[in-house]
Amino acid sequence: MTADADQPAALGLEGISKSYGSAAVLDNVSLSVRKGEFVALVGPSGCGKSTLLRIAAGLEDHESGRVVINGADVTSARAADRDVAMVFQSYALYPHLTARQNIALPLVMRRLNARERWPLIGPLMSRAKRAGIFKDVADVADSLHITHLLDRRPSQLSGGQRQRVALGRAIVRRPQAFLMDEPLSNLDAALRVAVRNEIVDLHRKAGAVTLYVTHDQEEALSMADRVAVMLGGRILQVGTPAQVYQQPDHLEVAKFIGVPQINLVAAIVENGLAKAASAELARSVAATDGSRVTVGFRPEDITLTAEPAASAVAVRVERVEFLGAVALAHLKTVECGLTLTARIAPTDASGIAGLPSLHARVDPDATLVFGTSGSRIARTTATQRGLSDAA
């Protein structure tokens, strides 16, 4: 079930700014997550995404801006009062408590008062409440398939198991929002892919609001309803995975999203044509003559042909990478020595290096053009296949 775009934000960050001394870590950042939505906040290390998450949680101060949860302004509320749950990169499980006690803890802190929490007498005074708590814990453990691990301590659990306990601790509270700080980055690659799907499942079943931070763009694209790309303390673009991949608003977004990285060629505009190495790489570009632009096209957008063409450059094959389902040809242009990466069919992989002449061709209406500031430049005609102008 996808989020309804007309609904008010369940979790809203408005105009958040933060700096350490003179360095601005977050620059007037705004982001909203709607009810039932899974938003991934993605960017390279150091871009400020974890800081933004901690500010949403109430774990870090900021200089200006508001945090709103389900209509209530919680900016001045502390983390314990915000009814959000967080899953940490290092899981942050209490080493001296069993898995059961770890998951139960948020309920113990909230449902039992101070006296009922005293070591020996407390349990006697609150038998009914505790029974209720442990029933909830058992239910959550069941949904995460960790019932058999509940009596173990974190040091006796594997990384994947600890991660589930951390998830359990977050879920058991049924909070208003889930905040996840790179929860999968400590797991090995195979486990990561499996757990990814489970997290999205849990999110759907709980009908929850989730803000998920990661540096792995593949993770973000695969899991999220919407992706927010962040760089240098600013959010560069928010959109669906398809939007962010196919219509990046900014050069940095295009570079960050997509593996292998998008091909970028410096070009000069002449009569609306962006040309480089005597090839027409883009048509109907809304920019003045002589402007310098960067033209981008994904590896799968390159077609390799034997004959030259107007939108093609002569290339030489440097190396072919055989990846099983797909193969990548690393090319170098004959004229200026630019490096390009093209996706080819695995069956062509062996034969391609031996071809006498090879040209890399693109569709000049479908390439992406970015100006010197990095923003995408619009096309003047509306004849692009499936593309709309950058907003």
Partner: protein, 278 residues
């Protein structure tokens, strides 16, 4: 804006810490100020810190002459330095053998190390004294150094540390043609520097303070170490001239304190590391 912590707590914390710090440093304050006062003023009592009359020269010169204070400090430096030198000299190869080599005696020797950790020098001081006397070594600097050249603590500490070195390091050195002894001094020592300096600090502080052994083996003032020297000073001055006594304590405490103030991090990290690893 978000919640900002109140101004109250940071202030309370500083005030509390400051008050406790004042109490902790009170002995030093009184030590120094009293060392400036003449005898008459000390005996008059009173809490005033600043002396009415200044008697610095008299007190300090008395401190330096009643016992050969500078000589005594020098003895302390020589003894502690020699002890550390020999301790590392003997302990490092043994620790390396225990950590990285296979030989029949390994378990026995390690057992002896554990035994040594449990038996303090005080317990075996009588036979050691008898040995020293029989060897004619009483009242020499050598006797102050000799029993401590074996430091099982050093062996234990270095062994733990060396065990964390990758075996490949040793294998590479061997294939370069180094003998085992060369490995110890050319490969292990440079890499064990943090542990070695940590231990050195620990050893210096412990032996600088040691009174028991010097007390029973040395009776000549010329050969005293600082703690013993101070005892002699007290005996010479029989509790009268507190001013000069304080001057003596200032002078005797100064070296290590100054060293500490210059190398604080080295000290603190060294002592905690030796403590935790050992």
């Amino acid at each position: 804006m978000t919640r900002r912590d109140g101004i109250a707590w940071p202030v309370i914390r500083i005030v509390l810490l400051g008050a406790i710090a004042l109490v902790m440093t009170a002995p030093y304050i009184f030590m120094i100020t009293t060392s400036f006062k003449p005898q008459s003023e000390v005996f008059a009592g009173g809490l005033n810190l600043l002396p009415q009359q200044w008697s610095i020269v008299a007190n300090y010169s008395k401190a330096v002459t009643a016992v050969p204070l500078l000589r005594i400090l020098l003895n302390g430096v020589i003894v502690c330095a020699a002890i550390v030198f020999f301790q590392i000299l003997f302990a490092l190869p043994a620790a390396y053998s225990l950590a990285k080599l296979r030989f029949g005696g390994r378990d026995i020797i390690f057992g002896l190390v554990i035994m040594g950790l449990l038996v303090p020098i005080h317990a075996i001081s009588i036979p050691l004294y008898a040995m020293a006397r029989w060897a004619g070594l009483l009242n020499t600097l050598a006797v102050l150094i000799a029993p401590f050249t074996l430091s099982v603590f050093a062996i234990f500490l270095f062994r733990q540390f060396i065990k964390t070195f990758p075996n490949d390091m040793v294998l590479a050195a061997r294939s370069d043609g180094l003998s085992e002894a060369a490995i110890v001094w050319r490969v292990i020592l440079p890499n064990a520097w943090p542990a070695a300096s940590a231990f050195a600090i620990f050893s210096v502080v412990a032996h600088w303070n040691d009174l028991y052994w010097p007390l029973i083996t040395v009776s000549k003032t010329q050969l005293a170490t600082p703690p013993l020297g101070l005892m002699f000073f007290r005996a010479a001055e029989v509790g009268d001239d507190y001013g000069a006594l304080m001057a003596a304590t200032v002078l005797i405490t100064l070296p290590l304190v100054l060293f500490f103030l210059f190398a604080q991090r080295l000290f603190i990290e060294g002592l905690t590391m030796s403590g935790i690893k050992g």
